[in-house]
């Protein structure tokens, strides 16, 4: 086949570049609707720090607790909040270890659903359960992530809401879980 004259100037490249600029213009986004949250867990055996971070809605606030856990509460719906805690994995596995804690902490604890997940390539479990709090029917969704540290740490992130308000913010909780990023770095 005879080789015809080939141009060094490519209009296709120009069209591609224009589309990238258009995409950039259309999708410029600020994270004005969310706030970042992160905490680190030091693994003294492997001399590594595991940092867990995620985003949560701006109309939620960090709330004080008297325990070694963090609490993010909704400003819109009373008694609706997310609790972030660290637990130690036992021989009973992710779900088994937490089931004992849940049964101890929640009145009329009833497990509704359970599902295995992978978060940042780590093993995780999602548990749905109901309980009562001072006579109010509550519902919760709990995500447990095995951090694979030598100290067998797992993080427990739980969304609590009165049964009637549960559906209002479960979507935001799903997004919060989706935004989780777990990274490890060497301790100095």
């Amino acid at each position: 086949m005879e080789n015809q004259k080939l141009s060094y100037i490519s209009w296709a490249v120009l069209i591609g570049a224009v589309l990238i600029l258009a995409g950039w213009f259309l999708t410029r986004s600020s994270n004005a609707n969310t706030k970042p949250f992160s905490f680190a867990i030091n693994d003294s055996v492997s001399k590594k720090a595991v940092t867990v971070g995620f985003e949560y809605p701006k109309d939620w606030n960090e709330m004080a607790t008297d325990k070694a856990e963090s609490k993010l509460g909704s400003l819109k719906t009373p008694k609706t909040y997310v609790l972030i805690d660290k637990q130690t994995l036992t021989m009973m596995g992710l779900k088994g270890a937490q089931a004992v804690v849940n049964q101890r902490n929640f009145e009329e604890y009833t497990e509704i659903s359970s599902e295995d997940l992978k978060i940042n390539d780590l093993n995780a479990v999602k548990i749905g359960f109901s309980y009562t709090d001072n006579g109010i029917n509550m519902q919760a969704c709990q995500v447990l992530v095995d951090l694979k540290t030598n100290a067998k740490d797992m993080i427990v992130i739980t969304y609590f809401a009165p049964e009637k308000d549960y559906a209002k913010s479960i979507g935001d909780f799903g997004k919060l879980i989706k935004s989780i990023s777990i990274t490890s770095s060497n301790l100095k």
């Binding site: 086949m1 141009s7 258009a22 590594k48 809605p57 390539d121």
Partner: protein, 305 residues
């Protein structure tokens, strides 16, 4: 293992063909590019099934060697399958490997910095389906495909070795595989501990989709180079290929992200990529077959000495 696989595949296909007597189906199922896809999908499925949950923690030079081995092997294997498929005038191996390496270099030198510059850290809270698709198509997909396009358009495109329409597909796949190799390598070396089942399947998935999107674009590059249209017409044809590849790239990642959601499963991810790749390959096969049949070297007298 490869010989056993090819033998079993042929056996299966002959059984199928004797039933249906369909020549076209046989031709498609026995072509080496398709065999390469099936082999990679099988490796991915076996790894995700047997190795899911197997943690590997490597450091220093061992991690580097593991990353090089695991990232290069599937890419070069598939490149070899496509090389075998180019039946009338095979491309020089050093040219294919050169374009593969160039694809890797441009991925590192162009795609990564441009992506970091333009792709916003879109919060999952702000993302609706349309904005997810726009980011995946116009930004990530377009940047990746444009870089692969530049690799082919400003290197091998002007070479005398690019002498038939099918070469567009072969060289674009080589560039796409080189590109995927660098992304896969970076994915592997940054991990302290890896779940082997997930990691190997993800590497294979990325190779499969990048090669197939680049192959579609390559068909348009090859067709444009040997068309009788003026330069402007050729460029338009190449632009269509580029946009189509970026569109498929964006569509694939949007579907994958939304089907997976919170209920992650590596087998589901593999099934989605395998399904997409086989459908796109089927289309590309017929396009490629047209290109190969249009080869000036189909007639042995025209073969270069």
């Amino acid at each position: 293992m490869l010989t056993v696989f090819v033998f079993l595949n042929r056996l299966f296909i002959f059984a199928l063909i004797s039933k249906h007597k369909n020549q076209k189906t046989m031709k498609f199922l026995t072509n080496k590019g398709f065999l390469g896809i099936v082999l990679l999908i099988i490796i991915g499925a076996v790894c995700s099934w047997l190795l899911d949950g197997t943690l590997l923690s490597l450091s220093g030079v061992w991690r580097l060697l593991f990353a090089i081995g695991v990232t290069l092997l599937p890419g070069l294997l598939w490149l070899w399958f496509f090389y075998m498929e180019d039946k009338y005038e095979k491309e020089p191996k050093q040219m294919l490997l050169g374009v593969f390496a160039l694809g890797g270099l441009t991925a590192y030198a162009l795609s990564k910095p441009i992506t970091a510059l333009f792709v916003p850290e879109v919060s999952v809270f702000d993302q609706n389906l349309l904005s997810q698709f726009l980011v995946a198509f116009l930004l990530v997909g377009m940047i990746q495909q444009l870089v692969i396009f530049l690799t082919v358009r400003y290197s091998i495109y002007f070479s005398n070795e690019f002498n038939e329409p099918a070469d567009g597909v072969i060289y674009s796949i080589a560039a796409g595989l080189g590109f995927a190799a660098v992304y896969n390598f970076e994915y592997l070396v940054q991990m302290d501990a890896m779940n082997l089942g997930i990691v190997i399947t993800r590497i294979i998935n990325f190779y499969l989709v990048m090669a197939i999107f680049s192959g579609i674009m390559g068909y348009f590059i090859g067709f444009a180079k040997f068309s009788k249209a003026k330069n402007c017409g050729r460029e338009m044809f190449m632009a269509i290929g580029l946009i189509l590849a970026a569109f498929l790239n964006g569509l694939y990642w949007t579907v994958l992200t939304n089907v997976q959601g919170m209920n992650f499963s590596i087998l589901k991810e593999l099934a989605i990529s395998a399904g997409s790749v086989i459908v796109i390959y089927l289309i590309m096969y017929f396009l490629l077959n047209r290109s190969v049949e249009a080869s000036p070297f189909k007639n042995p007298e025209n073969k270069p000495q």
